[in-house]
């Protein structure tokens, strides 16, 4: 099984989730993260002193999928999360050796 880790812009989350459901992905885990990259942060000021906010709010999606639907999954994310502006984010793919569903003890593809 493969794990897709997608860093996306926060306001894209809803749309991405819906599109992924359409191709049959039934679960995902999401976290609020802060990203740093080519996209620059912004400067805030407090009482005459400036300070840089380097990190921007991003959403991290983690989706473990059967290898065979990996490409569909990637296509969907790229299509939906893309705005064309700097900071749209990245997708990282790695390998997952084993999955277990805690409730039933089912393993691997059965657990997804």
């Amino acid at each position: 099984m493969k794990r897709v880790i997608a860093i996306i812009k926060p306001h894209k989350l809803e749309e991405v989730r819906e599109s992924l459901m359409e191709i049959g992905i039934s679960g995902m885990t999401v976290s609020d993260v802060k990203g740093f990259g080519i996209q620059k942060g912004h400067t805030e000021t407090y009482r005459g002193a400036e300070y840089k906010i380097d990190f921007l709010p991003k959403i991290k999606l983690e989706i473990v999928v059967k290898a065979k639907i990996l490409n569909d999954c990637l296509d969907v994310i790229i299509k939906v999360a893309k705005t064309g502006n700097i900071g749209d984010g990245k997708i990282f793919i790695d390998n997952i050796e084993k999955v277990i569903r805690i409730r039933t003890g089912e393993e691997n593809e059965l657990a997804l």
Partner: protein, 396 residues
């Protein structure tokens, strides 16, 4: 009829006392919102316990030092005339207790807890009542001397200098002796900014103070037949001047804008009973500028880590207001007259000297004996965990 008169006075002063009591919550929240989250609880506890200790100090020592009145007679004596003397004490206590509340904002995020309580005790028992008694009760004949020499007494209607100036300049000594927060100024001269943990809490503090201030100023008349709408409108105009001043000079920064009204109100205390509303408006505008300008100087240029800017706010705007009373109070500026700029200057300078000495002595002794500063580790963890063993918010 007489009872209505004396009852009305008691009611009048009681409302003033209650409004200024509420201002202490304002001090607390101005600090809560401005400090980092890890020091919010400490801000709250400091203000409320300082108030309690101040009450003890003023009740047993300070008030009789300033006014020669004490409470060690039976309740039936105290209750005479509807107990007017008692509410007067209450009202003036809320002023006295403002001194530690002012200092609290300067020393935030790194001061030890109990030494600050001790400092509060001595300041409210001795230092503040010394100046208060001289100015407001004619003690030691100083006011008589000024009147005799210059034709006019020192005029400080509601405490620009007596309360705010003294508080701000006492804080100055405490801030210097404490030193800056860890990491605030790096070796290579850079300034780290600590943005406010919560602008809404800061704003609650500001509003509570501003609203209560109408009690602080107007009820300083101390009897209902002496009340003056002029004081009310001057407070209003100075407050508005301060907001506009802070908006313009402070570049729309919410931290400045919510201190602007306070700057104006600090400055208008002294002369609110004698200025024309337009004079009050200008006084407030300038106070807004004074606060913004000197806050930036102290924090960012001179690297003096006065967290809430209480020296600029109370110390400098207090002095400015004391002088402004000697300007806009004059008849040529459509004021009611009865003031002299020179006397105002003398009064302000004496207050500064007294408070500087007082602050360095009290905090200096405490520094030598118990220490006044949290350990590095405690400061790093935050005053909330290290002193109060709890965090400000919890999601458990």
């Amino acid at each position: 009829m007489e009872e209505l008169q004396s009852g009305s006075n008691v009611f009048f002063v009681l409302i003033g006392a209650t409004m200024v009591l509420a201002m202490h919550a304002g001090f607390a929240f101005l600090e809560v919102g401005t400090v980092r989250s890890k020091n919010q609880v400490n801000a709250l506890v400091k203000i409320i316990t300082d108030f309690a200790i101040s009450t003890i100090a003023y009740f047993f020592i300070g008030y009789s030092f300033a006014y020669g009145f004490d409470f060690f007679v039976g309740a039936e004596v105290l209750a005479e005339k509807n107990g007017y003397e008692l509410v007067k004490f209450f009202f003036l206590l809320t002023f006295a207790a403002a001194i530690p509340a002012i200092i609290s904002g300067g020393i935030a995020e790194r001061a030890k807890f109990y030494p600050q309580l001790i400092a509060s005790f001595f300041i409210v028992a001795l230092i503040y009542p010394l100046f208060e008694g001289i100015v407001w009760n004619g003690n030691f004949g100083v006011q008589d001397f000024l009147k005799h020499t210059f034709g006019f007494a020192f005029h400080d209607f509601a405490g620009s200098m007596v309360v705010h100036g003294i508080g701000g300049w006492l804080a100055f000594g405490a801030v210097i002796l404490l030193g800056s927060r860890i990491g605030k100024y790096s070796k290579d001269g850079e300034v780290t900014t600590h943005p406010p943990s919560s602008v809404p809490f800061l704003a609650i503090g500001s509003w509570t103070l501003a609203v209560g201030w109408f009690g602080f100023n107007v009820i300083s008349a101390q009897s209902v037949d002496a009340v003056s709408g002029l004081v009310a409108i001057n407070s209003l105009m100075a407050m508005v001047g301060g907001i506009i001043g802070a908006l313009i000079f402070g570049k729309n920064d919410p931290g400045f804008i919510h201190n602007g009204p306070l700057a104006g109100l600090v400055a208008v205390c002294a002369g609110s009973d004698i200025m024309h509303p337009l004079g009050a408006l200008i006084t407030g505008l300038i106070a807004g500028f004074v606060f913004v300008f000197f806050f930036i100087q102290t924090q960012n240029k001179w690297k003096i880590d006065d967290v809430l800017g209480v020296w600029a706010l109370h110390g400098l705007c207090g002095v400015w207001g004391t002088l402004a009373a000697g300007i806009f109070g004059l008849k040529i500026f459509a004021g009611l007259g009865g003031v002299s700029f020179v006397v105002q200057l003398i009064g302000a300078l004496s207050g500064i000297v007294l408070a500087l000495i007082g602050g360095f002595v009290v905090y200096g002794i405490l520094k030598q004996t118990m220490g006044i500063r949290l350990s590095e580790q405690e400061e790093y963890e935050g005053a909330d965990i290290s002193i109060h063993k709890i965090s400000s918010t919890s999601d458990i």
